[in-house]
Symmetry: C2
Subunit: 482 residues, 2 copies
């Protein structure tokens, strides 16, 4: 049985951190002379105080975190952040209705970027800053989750990366989390600062540069503008953001190697090469399609294709164009791309390149196995044979992903959405992308989805972001026994 | 390397059989006083003579069939049947254009039932009979393929059924094929005759009864009427056909046990119980939806739901109603049902209940494995632990199925079809169902698909019908080496 006291104690710490982060919106409000600073102070105080109570009341709890505690803490951590994270929206009255506020907040902390807002520009600077910050904090959580916690829990093949991660090798979770997190977060911070700088020296002002840097590195995709990145009709802005979306979709361990000039190690990483390959192929396909089917020039076709492909494959969800207005085949290609996702160990969501890669490799190996039934033909990654258990884990994960997507599509249909909107909303939230197809495309938002649908999609964002099993295991009765 | 002489010799025998079968249309043409009897005689003669030449010219070939020969014979057998099977359509001028004739024929032999015909009723009785017969022959082939040949080849988990099949246990393929085929075919024939009788004593005439019995038992779905079974506004016809579609979707080995009154053995079969369960749940859902969203009465809602659910899950594809006109959520449910398929060892296509069952079981076991990482938690079927290799086979099969479906959807989009038509046409042909969604729904047909699209969908029908790997393995260079 998981230990609720341990969970409450760690949640307490996390909520105190969240409360402090809310106060970061106070100087923003003051600088822009907006009158909602008291709301942020109150929101932060409520959150931090709740955290303090939770931490203080469990001071006798043991801090030995078992695997089961791990599942409980991760899932309830994301939920708690999302519940308390609504406070700035609710207290300032920026988002009417708790359902909408919760949807917007969990969409932030899960780095999804699906929004219910019809007029983003009318929000105050403080609220916009908090909205961007939810994604950046979510991204920090994801880096630790996928590179430190999940490998230990052994979910969906993530154990493949346990040996890869720099930092002291694990005996206990605790020191490892701390040391590794510090190293990877420093890269996250450096990338964010670099993007702020590069956007700021371009046509963006400092505020927009900061907000977009926060949501790019998290592959979140919240923009300060209703029309997303299309607001800036500037190739410079498009290319800069493309580069940082790309980096956010790379395993942060590889970026760590890159910073230490170990480029051979980066290039030897097969997932990285697949990631490049997918981007190359999809960009080429869409750029050619746009060039021949519209009156865009070569550079604009390429830039538009590259931006949208990188935005979708990394599950960021920014838009410089509405892909629903392209020729239908290109929209279909974008839809398919929604089932790829970033690299494992990046902030990107979706099934992940690593799993798609193992799927492809195992499929071709399966054919070889039929031809040579008595030979042992393993799946190899980075030239090393992958344990069959891991392959089964990965396939089970992908099967789960498809089953959840299909069941969810039926649920969304039963809640009154048409076929394309159902399938699009599910792909966009389960994959933590943001915009989908149908009525929830890049030029629209999720405001018109019914209340029940919004709660259901919120659940999908959580399930998708936490690699399915982390959440679903909690629904298993066996989990709560002995 | 496969032995081409062995393949040619067996293909020769098969083509002679096909030629004789074409002559069965001659008496039909004569009875109805139609003037196309000479065309059927010629078509049969060309086919049988080609077969004879192929058989005669390879009389020195060894008849030891290796596994690789098996793949070649199965795939080229279905292709040869489909090519020569066009002759009655082409020579009588019933279907204009070779592409259309080939599409209609391979759709018959793969028991798909996707048609290009805009006016089925204008065809002569002889041609309609041949069209129905292609499906019935295809069904016979499938029974042998799935219950005798595939278990030996070890494709996609079908080896699970090797031990189940009645008949002498295998040392060599040959005596086993013969004896088992005889037993299972006799059930196929008995069911077909029973359906002819029951339809004939109802409102159908003998000709329609025969044609529909042939295409029901094959889960093919070709009708002699443009409006399919909706032509008969008779609950009796609907229920009779529902029962036989259901039986055609059951593992024929189980029917064999049923005929020997070993009902406990039938009920103990878990796949059978899942099959019943899926039909029950989907029928209930759709019947309730129809009852509350339309002015159908309770019986009509139930009957319409049951018919369409059984028709789609068994991949027959008959229609008594146009599910595209239902409330959108119910259409989505039907679309999801297209990815189930009949029982393994039935004539039904699609991924098959057995694989969906293993997918579901492995998913729940995967959750248990996360909770108890050190316990061995196998997937059980019929209370027996399933070998992990078989589970991986099944998951690899399903993964392949999804990948092929997704890639094909993109191909169909690039060939100019809209999103729903692309996804619907692929689901309907890869799953050997017949009607899809979008522009290829039950009230429409595949005539408007471009030529390239028709050839591509023909390929999908073949790939889907032959359990993917049987065809795909031929594209592997390793297959043709030593």
């Amino acid at each position: 049985m998981p230990n609720p006291k341990t969970a409450l104690r760690i949640l307490g710490i996390l909520l105190m951190v969240e409360g402090f982060c809310m106060w970061l919106a106070v100087p923003v409000a003051l600088i822009y002379g907006e009158n909602d600073a008291p709301h942020f102070i109150l929101a932060g105080a409520i959150t931090a105080f709740t955290g303090f109570l939770s931490f203080f009341s469990t001071r006798k709890a043991k801090l030995e975190v078992t695997k089961r505690d791990g599942y409980v803490i991760v899932t309830s951590g994301w939920l708690a952040f999302s519940f308390f994270g609504t406070l700035p929206f609710v207290l300032t009255g920026s988002i009417p209705g708790f359902t909408n506020a919760f949807f917007e907040t969990i969409s932030g902390f899960t780095t999804t970027g699906a929004s219910v807002l019809n007029n983003i520009e009318e929000l105050s600077h403080g609220v916009l800053f908090w909205r961007s910050l939810t994604q950046w904090l979510g991204g920090m959580g994801i880096i630790v989750l996928t590179l430190v916690i999940l490998p230990v829990l052994g979910i969906g093949g993530m154990q493949l990366f346990a040996a890869e991660v720099p930092g002291p090798m694990p005996d206990k979770l605790h020191p490892r989390v701390k040391e590794t997190a510090k190293r990877l977060w420093s890269i996250y911070v450096i990338f964010t600062l670099a993007e702020v700088l590069l956007l700021w020296i371009g046509p963006m002002d400092l505020f927009d540069a900061v907000c977009h840097a926060l949501t790019t590195m998290a592959t979140g995709g919240y923009s300060t503008k209703q029309s997303s990145i299309a607001y800036w009709d500037s190739p410079y802005v498009h290319y800069v953001i493309t580069v940082f979306m790309f980096l956010a979709g790379v395993n942060f361990t590889l970026s760590y190697f890159g910073f230490h000039l170990r480029f051979r190690k980066v290039w030897q990483n097969e997932e990285f090469r697949y990631y490049l390959g997918f981007i190359f192929v999809f960009t080429l396909l869409i750029a050619a399609g746009l060039f021949f089917s519209s009156n865009r020039g070569a550079e604009e076709s390429f830039r538009t294709a590259l931006f949208q492909v990188v935005s979708i494959i990394t599950t960021t969800g920014y838009a410089t164009d509405d892909y629903l207005l392209w020729m239908p085949a290109l929209t279909t290609v974008i839809f398919v791309l929604m089932f790829f996702g970033g690299s494992a160990g990046s902030t990107g969501g979706g099934p992940k390149i690593m799993r798609i890669m193992i799927l492809i490799k195992n499929s071709t190996q399966e054919l070889k196995r039929l031809i040579h039934p008595n030979a042992v033909i393993p799946v190899r990654m980075n030239k090393i044979a992958v344990d069959n258990v891991v392959v089964t884990n990965v396939l089970a994960f992908l099967a789960f992903y498809v089953v959840i997507a299909v069941v969810s599509m039926v649920v969304m249909s039963l809640l009154g959405n048409d076929f394309e909107t159902s399938i699009g909303a599910v792909a966009a939230t389960l994959g933590n992308i943001g915009p989908g197809i149908g009525n929830v495309g890049p030029a629209a938002n999720f405001n018109d989805i019914a209340v029940a649908g919004k709660w259901f999609l919120s659940f999908l964002m959580l399930v998708g972001r936490l690699e399915l099993f982390t959440v679903l295991v909690l629904f298993s009765p066996a989990f709560w026994k002995d």
